[in-house]
């Protein structure tokens, strides 16, 4: 038990179970119903994928505040292609246009991510500012493309990504499982993953160990951009429309989930398992509170409070999880007193 509680993931697993048990106890007939479980499985993948994007940037000690901007811009580009060209088409044509729209969205995500990566790695901008500025630009382009209104009227095939089930399992959930599994594999089993964690632990040491830091950071932000674009597509498919200001609350939520999942915002430590657990606990809490008749605003309050509580608990264990104290702190996420020992 003590060993389980020593790792942030262990503590989080306990928290998740407690929330699940609590909600099941408070609203047994509704919370445990098939309907609720399915609806939860459809709801969380979109922000969970954004949280994965946040996780990989945070592992390097950075942050990506432009994820929601990238998600909306990619979704809008896909939506414009679908409404402009794909309406009325059937059969192979429809599938081809859909594939093209999805590819275009992914491409936008990749380009946007590369843009962030170059700003951070080549020009040396602090990640907060680079992604804050680029996020405004992406959102701004999305507004300019649509005039601020929603794009809707897609062919029926577009709804598959967000609303269909495959062998009884919701497609968005499958997609999230695939991406989370992939990211976990990349981080734990590939050279790229190792370098990401090395850089996050100590950028200078990683540089001296021969890691091409510039290339590494650009790739990290590119991955984050593509993940954000995928999240945008899921949102688009579920909402059956795309708009420049969708999911604006997801930014905070994505940061919150990553930190809740035990990812160290100073970089160097974080596991996908933790992020998945954090996503589940958030969704259980959110759905449960919804059933208990708690307003959306109260949910925001509880999320914020949960974040602070988990931070206070985790703050004590970060220094021990890190091999060495950071030599050069990332601007903007300056170590505060008590965490730099």
């Amino acid at each position: 038990m003590k060993r389980l509680l020593a790792a942030p993931e262990g503590r989080l697993a306990v928290i998740t179970l407690v929330i699940f048990a609590g909600m099941s106890f408070l609203a047994p007939d509704r919370f445990l119903s098939v309907q609720n479980v399915t609806s939860m499985a459809f709801q969380f993948p979109e922000f969970a994928i954004l949280a994965l994007a946040m996780t990989i940037t945070m592992l390097t000690g950075g942050i990506d505040l432009s994820v929601v901007g990238i998600a909306n811009l990619s979704a809008i580009v896909a939506a414009l292609i679908l409404t402009r060209f794909a309406t009325g088409t059937t059969g192979t044509d429809a599938v081809l246009w859909l594939a093209l729209a999805l590819a275009a969205a992914g491409g936008i995500g990749l380009v946007a991510g590369l843009f962030n990566g170059v700003a951070v790695a080549v020009f040396g901008l602090p990640a907060i500012l680079a992604t804050l500025g680029s996020g405004l630009i992406f959102t701004g382009i999305a507004i300019a493309l649509t005039g601020g209104s929603a794009v809707m009227g897609f062919p029926a095939a577009a709804a598959w990504l967000g609303n269909a089930t495959l062998a009884g399992v919701p497609v968005p959930l499958l997609l999230f499982a695939l991406l989370a599994g992939g990211l976990a594999f990349v981080l734990a089993r590939t050279g790229f993953g190792l370098k990401v964690q090395m850089y996050g632990t100590n950028p200078l040491a990683a540089h001296f160990a021969g890691v091409d830091v510039t290339r590494l950071l650009i790739r990290v932000y590119a991955v984050s951009g593509v993940l954000a674009a995928i999240a945008g597509l899921v949102v688009m498919s579920r909402a059956n429309s795309a708009k420049a200001d969708y999911g604006s609350s997801y930014l905070l939520l994505a940061v919150l989930i990553a930190v809740l999942g035990g990812v160290n915002p100073y970089g160097g430590y974080g596991r996908v398992v933790g992020v998945v657990l954090a996503v589940l606990s958030m969704q259980f809490l959110s759905s449960g509170l919804n059933m208990l008749g708690v307003s959306n605003f109260a949910r925001e309050l509880i999320w914020g409070a949960l974040l602070l509580v988990v931070m206070v608990v985790n703050a004590g264990s970060w220094p021990r999880l890190r091999a060495r104290p950071r030599v050069r702190a990332e601007p903007g996420l300056q170590p505060s007193p008590g965490t730099e020992t």
Binding site: I128, L129, F297, L301, W303, L307
Partner: protein, 328 residues
């Protein structure tokens, strides 16, 4: 005085002048009293926020919760006045709002200075806590019937006049509060030991601790001060808009930080000037109010601000990187 092109202040001032020059050519009516008073009026709330945000950046932290603090203080104060003390004069309302702001700031300070948590994460958390608490437990309905004290304040004008074409222009006394906030903050930063401590802390937390600066107390002060400023900005916003809307202000935080960063304050801490901050605010207000004069549709506003942030912070960062590469 030598013109230093590497300084953000010079860059921003240059962009502002260029903007105004082009705008004046495109629309001769641009250079007029109404434009000036509109800009100054638009800069009051943003300016007070920015001065507070700059102080945090100088101390080496970042605060994104101040808009929620402002909305909380503004709405709660208005509600208190409407329900229990409608006869209170405006300055009492201002004091109440500032006290509420200070209290919420102390909450931030507790987690940041007390527990030593990263400032961005804490203030992201408190942003949703303050907003969630306000909308759940205090209220989510618009108050359009402001107490008489606040209405009186909104009628106090410093300058009032009529343009040649018969249009009115005016500058409310609220502007004096921005001036006051700037003067007080200048005094703290440059004329007190506290100000030195804030700069030292931003430069290097560890060094500041080793030379005997009480870093925790100083950090705590910084967040209380920002909270107080946010409370003031909130109540001024409500008085000037003549309505207390709990959904107002939140969402403005990134624009404010953008203004401060444009003005040359560094996210890494230890550097920032009031002149730069005010110039940054002026530029953001100019872009928000007058982009349309240059023939750029207002839908491109946030693109323009985003580009300004990237260039404004990218140039110094790029120069610093090159200088470091040369030294190595």
């Amino acid at each position: 005085m030598k013109l230093d092109l590497t300084r953000n202040e010079t860059l921003v001032a240059g962009v502002i002048l260029a903007f105004c020059a082009i705008a004046a050519v495109v629309d001769p009516g641009f250079l007029s009293m109404p434009t000036l008073t509109d800009l100054l009026r638009g800069g009051i709330v943003l300016g007070i926020f920015a001065v507070g945000a700059m102080l945090v950046l100088v101390s080496g932290g970042i605060d994104v919760s101040f808009t929620a603090v402002a909305a909380f203080a503004m709405y709660t104060t208005t509600l208190l006045l409407v329900n229990w003390a409608p006869g209170l004069p405006w300055w009492a309302a201002f004091l109440v709002a500032m006290a509420i702001g200070a209290l919420l700031g102390a909450f931030n300070g507790l987690f940041i200075a007390g527990f030593g948590l990263p400032t961005l994460i804490v203030t992201l958390g408190t942003l949703s806590i303050f907003r969630g608490f306000l909308l759940t437990f205090v209220g989510s309905k618009l108050i359009s019937n402001l107490p008489p004290g606040m209405r009186d304040f909104s009628r106090l004008m410093m300058v009032r006049g009529t343009n040649a074409d018969g249009s009115f222009y005016s500058l409310p006394w609220a502007f004096a509060f921005l001036v006051g906030v700037v003067v007080v903050t200048w005094t703290i930063l440059y004329r007190t030991m506290l100000g030195r401590a804030i700069f030292a802390m931003g430069g290097s937390m560890e060094s500041a601790r080793r030379i005997g600066i009480p870093v925790r107390a100083t950090q705590f002060f910084v967040y209380v001060y920002v909270g107080t400023m946010a409370g003031l900005a909130g109540i001024i916003h409500a008085s000037m808009a003549r309505v207390a809307n709990p959904f107002d202000l939140v969402g403005l935080e990134l624009s404010v930080i953008a203004a401060v960063v444009l003005g040359g304050a560094r996210l890494a801490g230890g550097y920032g000037t009031l002149t730069g901050t005010l110039l940054g605010v002026a530029l953001i207000v100019l872009v928000r109010n007058s982009l349309i004069v240059l023939g750029i549709p207002s839908t491109w506003q946030s693109v323009a601000i985003g580009i300004l942030i990237l260039i404004g912070t990218g140039l110094p960062a790029w120069q610093a990187k090159r200088a470091a590469a040369r030294a190595a």
